[in-house]
């Protein structure tokens, strides 16, 4: 597992370099006006990867079913808009967050009593159940054809979603910023430290009297809430929901993004989706076979040789430079 950045003893103040992603994001808004749709997608996946990093990287819960909460958020926002006529984006987002939180709490409270393979299997089974419901409840979800006709009103009644994706990009950026601020505060809090403790040695955490189970349920619920918000955002920017938001491949791809960036360090969740989605945009359409082959090879190589991902490699280079100097 990669070095833990943060913790109770670490300085919780925001370092100057931590503003870099936001400067890059705002610069991209002005410099690359043709790529704002891709940009919004990247921002959403950063938020989604951030939620996964909380449970995989910090709490050490391995899940193959995180798309359940993302997909639920996406469908809740979509159904609210297309079937019930609730078009206010804030209401949709809150509903998506609430649905994610509810499902996260109920499923988390049940499955976190188990460990290892059983836990992995349960996360997969829960996602499969949701996928099956979405697939069969066609009157509500559109089934395999997807849910179209999603209407999103202007944000706060002022900012209309334009065809260039400017509003969508800034809107996603603001939501991501709020999510990042929240996650960062949490990771640097005593609660975040206790999660790392559970990940590193849950027996000792039990021994010192920490309520391990409840801590895990709480972080799982928070993570599911954030994933639900990310799902709501993807519906609002695409104005469409397809079954793929719930699929195993999408959960797998998300894991790939997080691993690629680096697990358990917040900013891995920023680097991974950028690299992955930009590469996908450039390569996947021309060479679909090679694309999946490349992802597979990359995963194997990262696990074999570069367990910290891109940021882990950077850390290694930096510490070597410092060692020489």
């Amino acid at each position: 597992m990669s070095a833990h950045a943060g913790g109770y003893t670490a300085d919780p103040r925001i370092r100057p370099i931590e503003w870099l992603p936001w400067i890059v994001a705002i610069a991209a808004f002005f410099a690359l006006p043709d790529y704002l749709a891709l940009g919004a997608r990247i921002l959403i996946f950063i938020l989604y990867a951030l939620s996964l990093d909380l449970i995989v990287g910090y709490a050490g819960i391995i899940t193959l079913g995180h798309s359940a909460y993302f997909g639920l958020g996406a469908y809740v926002a979509g159904i609210l808009s297309a079937k019930l006529g609730v078009t206010d984006p804030m209401v949709q987002l809150v509903a998506a967050a609430g649905a994610g939180a509810f499902l996260g709490l109920t499923t988390g409270a049940i499955i976190l009593r188990t460990r290892a393979l059983t836990l992995l299997m349960l996360t997969l089974a829960i996602t499969s159940v949701l996928l099956e419901i979405a697939n069969k409840a066609t009157s509500l979800t559109g089934g395999a054809d997807g849910l179209s006709g999603v209407v999103v009103a202007p944000v706060l009644g002022l900012f209309k979603f334009d065809i260039f994706g400017k509003t969508a990009y800034l809107y996603c950026l603001i939501v991501l910023f709020v999510g990042w601020w929240f996650v960062r505060r949490m990771v640097y809090s005593p609660f975040g430290t206790s999660l790392t403790g559970v990940r590193e040695n849950s027996l000792r955490m039990h021994a010192i009297g920490a309520p391990v189970y409840w801590r895990l349920v709480l972080v799982y619920t928070l993570s599911a809430t954030i994933a639900g918000v990310a799902g709501g955002l993807i519906t609002q920017t695409n104005q469409f929901v397809g079954l793929n938001v719930l699929s195993f491949e999408s959960a797998g791809e998300l894991l790939v993004m997080l691993i690629l960036g680096g697990v358990g360090r917040i900013y891995g969740a920023f680097v991974g989706p950028v690299v992955f989605l930009v590469a996908q945009d450039l390569l996947a359409k021309q060479f679909p076979e090679y694309w999946y082959f490349g992802i597979g090879v990359m995963l194997v190589l990262v696990v074999m040789f570069a367990r910290g991902g891109v940021l882990g490699i950077l850390d290694g280079i930096l510490s070597r430079l410092r060692g020489k100097a």
Binding site: R115, K136, I259, M304
Partner: protein
């Protein structure tokens, strides 16, 4: 009433055929997970490889069906030895997360390779004349090939049980599952045992994939689509046991067939809900000894 009875018999029969295939494919996964504690999500890749080898051998090179089955078993087993020696063995001590990621990576690679060589279409299975048609049994007609699947798998299962319960090799495997450190210290070469057992399990998966190519369609997304089924068999059955996954595979095979027959509008929903229920009731599976 007669029609209902006929459909019950039919569901039980087709469900058993599916269950047998699931067992032959998944038993290796149960053993590798129980023996080495390795979360091998890429197990379906071996089954898919077996399916492709069998269909290609028959339709492109005219290999007779029995020989093609042997070929599927042997080549997948040999291929898995290489994978085990060069890749898997480096990760035995790694964390669950790393094993999961590594095997997902293998799935991605296998899916891409399969799509590159064979395209996205499902591979047709050419059966020999003597396995086509209907087979009369107790006054009813059953598809001959399914009868063959059940009979053949039953023989394989019997051989496997005999091997594990009655031979010296089986005693060594059981000892290692129970307590690896102790087995090692009484002189069992656990490393070689791992390789051999892994090869056998993968070979059986290849055999099952080939044998069941007509039931579980051979296509590039095979390892992804059927992963849940293989994992359900192992998780519900219990790790490291032979009997547990057998009962689980039959239950799932029959339940899945019954759902598709009587409740097609619910899809695989009841199976997943039942799985969740069973795992909450017994987290270590129906026959598992430890979580």
């Amino acid at each position: 009433m007669e029609a209902f009875l006929a459909s019950v018999v039919s569901v039980a029969f087709h469900g058993s055929a599916l269950g047998m295939i699931l067992y032959v494919i998944s038993v290796g996964l149960s053993v590798t997970m129980g023996l080495m504690g390795f979360a091998n999500l890429a197990h379906g890749v071996f089954a898919m490889a077996g399916g492709y080898i069998l269909t290609t051998a028959i339709s492109r090179f005219g290999v007779p069906f029995p020989l093609a089955l042997v070929l599927a078993f042997v080549s997948v087993a040999l291929g898995s030895v290489l994978l085990e020696r060069f890749l898997y063995s480096r990760l035995y001590a790694a964390s669950d997360l790393e094993q999961v990621l590594f095997t997902i990576g293998l799935i991605f690679i296998a899916v891409a390779v399969a799509r590159f060589i064979y395209g996205t279409l499902q591979q047709p299975v050419v059966l020999p004349e003597y396995l086509k048609g209907q087979f009369p049994l107790l006054g009813r007609d059953f598809p001959t090939y399914r009868v063959f699947i059940i009979a053949f798998s039953a023989v394989m299962v019997a051989l496997l049980w005999f091997g594990v319960e009655r031979t010296r090799w089986g005693a060594m495997v059981r000892a290692t599952v129970d307590n690896r450190a102790m087995a090692q210290s009484v002189g069992i070469n656990t490393k070689r045992l791992f390789t051999l057992t892994f090869a056998l399990g993968s070979g059986l998966a290849g055999l099952g994939g080939g044998l069941g190519a007509e039931i579980i369609a051979i296509q590039p997304t095979y390892p992804f689509e059927n992963l849940v089924y293989f994992l359900v068999v192992v998780a519900v059955g219990g790790l490291g046991s032979l009997r547990g996954p057998f009962v689980a595979a039959l239950l799932i095979g029959i339940a899945d067939t019954a759902c598709k027959y009587w409740l097609p509008q619910y899809g695989a929903f009841p199976i997943y809900v039942a799985t969740i229920g069973i795992l909450l009731w017994r987290p270590a599976g129906l026959f598992g000894r430890h979580a």
